[in-house]
C-alpha cells in the first residue's frame, strides 16, 4: 500500500473516532449546565445529583474527545504537509483562534467545575459549566469554519502558489458554515438527548431512582424533540445549498447519472459505477426537483454532465466520488434521523398522556436507540468528506497533491497501526467505564461540606 492510501485511512479513522465523542460533548455540556442551573434556582437536590451523575459521564466522554482532538490538530502537518503549505495561510487561522478563544476557556473552566464544588458559590460554579458548554460549541464553530473552507473555498486568492486569505470575515460567513454549524451542533444536542433518554429509560424500566430518571428523561425529551426537528430542517436547507455549491456531491448522494427535469428521487438503488447506470431503483417522481428547488420542475444536473463540465474547467481526470457509498451514507443518515424523529414524537405524545412508563417496549426502544445518533453523525460526515473527493479543497487541491512527500509508507503504516490499536483499546475502556457508571446509577453523593482551607501556598517563603 502506498503512503497516500495509508494516510487517507489514518485520517478517516482518526476523524471518525474523534467525532464519536465530540457530539455528545457539545450537547451534554449544555444539558448538565441546565440541570445545575435548575438546582441553583430551585434548590432541588435532585438536580444537583443529576448534574453530578450526568457530569461524570460527560467527563469520561470529554477526555476521549480531547485526546483525539490533539491528534487531529497535528495530523495536517504530519501526513498532509503539502495541504498545510497550500492552505496554511487560511486554514491555520481558525485552528489557532479555536485554541485561543474556545479551548482555553473549555479546559480551564472544566477544571474549575470538577474541583470547585466546595470552593465556589453555587452560581459561580454553575457559571463554570456554562462557560464549558459555550466554549465547546464555540470551538465547533471554528473547526467548521476551517472545514467549510475545504468544502466551499471563500475569501481567498491564489498567490505565491498557495491560497492566501483576503477576507477573514468572508471565512466566518461562508455560506457552507452557516448551514454546517447549526446542523452539526444540533446533531450534537440530539446525540446528548438520546444518550440521556436511553440511559434514563434503562433505569425507568428497572424502577430505579424514579424521580431522578423521570426528570432526566423529560429534559432529554424536550431538548431531543426540539433539536431533532431543527436538525432535519437545517439539513434540508443545507442539501438545497449543496445542489448549487457542490453539485457533484449531491448528484453522487442521489446516484443521478443523467441530468433530469423534473428529477425523480431514488429511495433505493442498485448502482453500477463502471457502466454509470443504476440497473434497479425505486423512484418517486418529481421529488428531487421539489427537494432541491421547492418546485415540481427544475433541472437537477447529473454526474456525467458535471464530470464533463469539470473536465473542461480543471482538465482531464476523474471527478466522480465513490457514488455507491455516498448514496448509501446519505440514506443511512436520513433514515436514522427519521427513526429518531418518530420515536421522539411518539414518546412526547405518550408522555403528555402520562402513559410512557406503562410501555416498556417504547422505553426499550430508547435504550436501543442510543447508537442511532452516532450512526447518523458518522454517515453524515462520511457523505460530506467522501462526497468531496477527489478534492481535499473543493476545486483547488486534490487529495493526492496534499500528502506529505517525505513520510514513508512504513512510517504511516506504523502510526496507523498503533493509533488504531490504541483507539480500539481506549474505546473498550471508555465503554466499560460508561456502562459501569450508568449501572451504578446516581447513588447518594452527599452535599459537599465546605472544608476550611487553612494552608495557602506562599511563593515568598
Amino acid at each position: 500500500m502506498d503512503a497516500l492510501l495509508l494516510a487517507r485511512w489514518q485520517f478517516a479513522i482518526t476523524s471518525v473516532y474523534h467525532f464519536l465523542f465530540v457530539p455528545l460533548t457539545l450537547g451534554l455540556s449544555v444539558l448538565v449546565a441546565i440541570m445545575e442551573t435548575i438546582y441553583v434556582r430551585t434548590g432541588n437536590e435532585t438536580y444537583r445529583q443529576m448534574a453530578r451523575f450526568w457530569g461524570k459521564l460527560f467527563l469520561i466522554n470529554f477526555a476521549m474527545g480531547v485526546v483525539t482532538g490533539i491528534v487531529q490538530e497535528f495530523h495536517f502537518g504530519m501526513n498532509w504537509s503539502e495541504y498545510s503549505r497550500f492552505v496554511g495561510d487560511i486554514f491555520g487561522a481558525p485552528l489557532a483562534v479555536e485554541a485561543l478563544a474556545a479551548f482555553f476557556l473549555e479546559s480551564t473552566f472544566l477544571g474549575v467545575w470538577i474541583f470547585g464544588w466546595d470552593k465556589l458559590s453555587k452560581s459561580l460554579h454553575a457559571a463554570a459549566i456554562w462557560l464549558v458548554a459555550l466554549a465547546s460549541n464555540l470551538s465547533a464553530f471554528w473547526i467548521l469554519v476551517a472545514n467549510s473552507f475545504m468544502q466551499e473555498p471563500v475569501g481567498y486568492v491564489i498567490r505565491n502558489g498557495r491560497a492566501e486569505m483576503t477576507g477573514f470575515f468572508a471565512l466566518l460567513t461562508n455560506p457552507h458554515v452557516l448551514y454546517q454549524y447549526p446542523h452539526t451542533v444540533l446533531a450534537g444536542f440530539t446525540t446528548a438527548a438520546f444518550f440521556v433518554m436511553g440511559i434514563s429509560a434503562y433505569h425507568l424500566l428497572r424502577k430505579n431512582h424514579l424521580d431522578f430518571f423521570r426528570r432526566s428523561f423529560r429534559l432529554g425529551l424536550i431538548s431531543g424533540v426540539i433539536s431533532i426537528l431543527l436538525v432535519v430542517t437545517v439539513g434540508h436547507f443545507q442539501g438545497q445549498h449543496l445542489v448549487s455549491s457542490q453539485p457533484m456531491k449531491m448528484a453522487a448522494a442521489e446516484a443521478r447519472w443523467e441530468s433530469r427535469d423534473p428529477a425523480p428521487m431514488s429511495l433505493v438503488a442498485v448502482i453500477d459505477e463502471k457502466q454509470q447506470t443504476n440497473p434497479f431503483e425505486i423512484q418517486i417522481p418529481y421529488l428531487l426537483s421539489f427537494l432541491s428547488y421547492n418546485s415540481f420542475s427544475g433541472e437537477v444536473k447529473g454526474i456525467k454532465e458535471i464530470q464533463a463540465a469539470y473536465e473542461d474547467r480543471y482538465g482531464p481526470g476523474n471527478y466522480i466520488p465513490p457514488v455507491t457509498s455516498v448514496f448509501w451514507s446519505f440514506r443511512i443518515m436520513v433514515a436514522a434521523g427519521a427513526l429518531m424523529l418518530l420515536l421522539a414524537l411518539l414518546s412526547l405524545y405518550l408522555w403528555r398522556k402520562g402513559r410512557l412508563e406503562t410501555k416498556p417496549l417504547v422505553l426499550k426502544a430508547f435504550l436501543f436507540s442510543i447508537p442511532l445518533p452516532y450512526i447518523a453523525n458518522t454517515s453524515g460526515w462520511y457523505m460530506a468528506e467522501v462526497g468531496r473527493q477527489p478534492w481535499i479543497v473543493y476545486g483547488l487541491q486534490r487529495v493526492e497533491e496534499a500528502v506529505s512527500p517525505v513520510v514513508s509508507a512504513g512510517a504511516v503504516l506504523t502510526t496507523l497501526l498503533v493509533f488504531t490499536l490504541l483507539y480500539g483499546v481506549l474505546a473498550v475502556v471508555d465503554v466499560y467505564l460508561l456502562v459501569k457508571v450508568v449501572k451504578k446509577g446516581p447513588g447518594e453523593t452527599p452535599a459537599v461540606p465546605r472544608v476550611e482551607d487553612v494552608e495557602g501556598v506562599s511563593l515568598w517563603t
Binding site: 469520561i60 470529554f62 504530519m78 501526513n79 465556589l120 486569505m165 513520510v407 481506549l426 472544608v451 482551607d453
Partner: protein, 334 residues
C-alpha cells in the same frame, strides 16, 4: 517590529507558557511513582495538578495552532519531518490525558496502578522529547531546498540533542518537585522537598553542560542575547537549588520557573530569525520570512492574539488563586 518578528515572539511566549505551566505538571507525573507510596497519596499528588493540567496543555495546542497560522511552512516541515518523534509524543499525551480521568473510576489496585504508570510514561516522554525537538530545530536537521526534511528519525538523536532532552526532563522534574513541596503537606511534603533537593542537584549540572555544548554545537558565541539568557538561566537554576536546600521552596519554585523561561528565551533567540535550521545548506533554513503566512493573515491573527492572550492569562491566573491551597486527603476528585 514587523509582524513576522511579533509572531516569532508570540510563539516564544506560548512555548514559555507551555513549558512553565505544563512543566510542573509533567514533573508531578514523573514523580508520581516515586513519591506516592499508596493509592491515597498518589491521588493527592494527582489532585495537586487536577484543576490545571488540561488548561496547561492548551498552551501547546495554541502554540501548534499559532505555528500553523503564522508560519505554515514551519508547521508542515516540522510535523512531517519529526514524524515519529511527534507520534511518540501524541501517544504519550493521549494515554496521559485519559489516565487522569479514568484512574479513579474503578478501585481495583491493578487498574489504578496501570493508569498511574501511564501517567508516569505519558509525562516523561514529552518532557524528554521537547528538549530533543528544540535542540534539533536550532542545531540543524537535513532540510533540502524545497523545505522538505530529508533525514530519518535517527538524525534527531545526537549527544547534543539528547543532552537537551535530559535537561528539559530534569528541569521539569525539579519544577514538579518544588510545586509539590508547595501544594502538599505532612509526609508527602517532606518527600517532595527531599526529591527537589535531589533532582535540583542533577538538573543544575545538566543545564551547565548543555550551555557549554551549545557553544560548539550551535555557535552560541556570536549571539549575545542568547548567551546572556543561557547564563541567566544557569544562575537562576543554581539559585533555585540553593533556595531549596535552605528550605525556601516558594522562592525556589519561582527561581526554577524563571530558569525555564530564560532557557526558552535563550533557545528561541539563538534560533531567530530562523525557525528551523538546515544542516545541509544555511540558505535552505526556514526563517520567519520564507515560512510565513501572508501579511493580511498575520495582521488578523495579531489582532486576535493580542486581544485574547491577556484574557486567557487573567482567567487562568484566577483558577490558580481559587485552588491556591495545599491538597490533603479530605476531598479528592480524581
Amino acid at each position: 517590529m514587523d509582524l513576522n518578528v511579533l509572531w516569532f515572539v508570540l510563539i516564544t511566549v506560548l512555548f514559555i507558557g507551555y513549558f512553565f505551566l505544563e512543566g510542573f505538571d509533567y514533573g508531578v507525573g514523573i514523580l508520581l511513582p516515586f513519591l506516592g507510596k499508596d493509592d491515597g497519596e498518589r491521588r493527592v499528588l494527582i489532585n495537586t495538578i487536577g484543576p490545571f493540567w488540561d488548561g496547561n496543555e492548551v498552551w501547546l495546542l495554541t502554540a501548534g495552532g499559532a505555528i500553523f497560522a503564522a508560519f505554515p511552512h514551519w508547521y508542515a516541515t516540522l510535523f512531517s519531518g519529526f514524524y515519529l518523534a511527534l507520534f511518540l509524543m501524541l501517544v504519550a499525551l493521549i494515554v496521559r490525558g485519559v489516565a487522569f480521568e479514568f484512574r479513579s473510576k474503578d478501585d481495583r489496585p491493578s487498574w489504578r496502578s496501570l493508569w498511574d504508570w501511564l501517567i508516569f510514561v505519558g509525562s516523561l516522554l514529552p518532557a524528554l522529547l521537547w528538549g530533543v525537538a528544540i535542540t534539533n530545530l536550532i542545531r540543524g536537521v537535513p532540510i533540502n531546498g524545497q523545505m522538505q526534511y530529508v533525514g530519518t528519525f535517527w538524525h534527531l538523536l545526537s549527544p547534543y540533542t539528547l543532552a537537551g532532552g535530559m535537561t528539559t526532563l530534569l528541569l521539569f522534574t525539579f519544577h514538579g518537585a518544588l510545586f509539590l513541596a508547595l501544594k502538599t503537606r505532612g509526609e508527602l511534603e517532606e518527600r517532595a522537598r527531599r526529591a527537589a533537593v535531589l533532582v535540583g542537584a542533577v538538573a543544575a549540572p545538566a543545564l551547565v553542560l548543555l550551555v557549554f555544548l551549545s557553544y560548539s554545537q550551535i555557535g552560541l558565541a556570536g549571539r549575545a542575547g542568547a548567551t546572556v539568557a543561557f547564563w541567566g538561566a544557569v544562575v537562576l537554576l543554581l539559585a533555585a537549588y540553593w533556595l531549596s536546600r535552605t528550605g525556601r521552596y516558594g522562592l525556589a519554585f519561582v527561581g526554577n520557573g524563571l530558569a525555564i523561561v530564560f532557557s526558552t528565551v535563550a533557545f528561541f533567540s539563538a534560533l531567530f530569525p530562523r525557525v528551523m535550521v538546515s544542516s545541509l545548506y544555511p540558505q535552505w533554513s526556514l526563517t520567519i520570512y520564507n515560512a510565513s503566512s501572508s501579511p493580511y493573515t498575520l495582521k488578523v491573527m495579531t489582532i486576535v492574539a493580542l486581544t485574547l492572550v491577556p484574557v486567557v492569562l487573567l482567567y487562568q491566573g484566577w483558577t490558580y488563586w481559587v485552588f491556591r491551597h495545599r491538597v490533603g486527603k479530605e476531598h479528592l476528585e480524581y
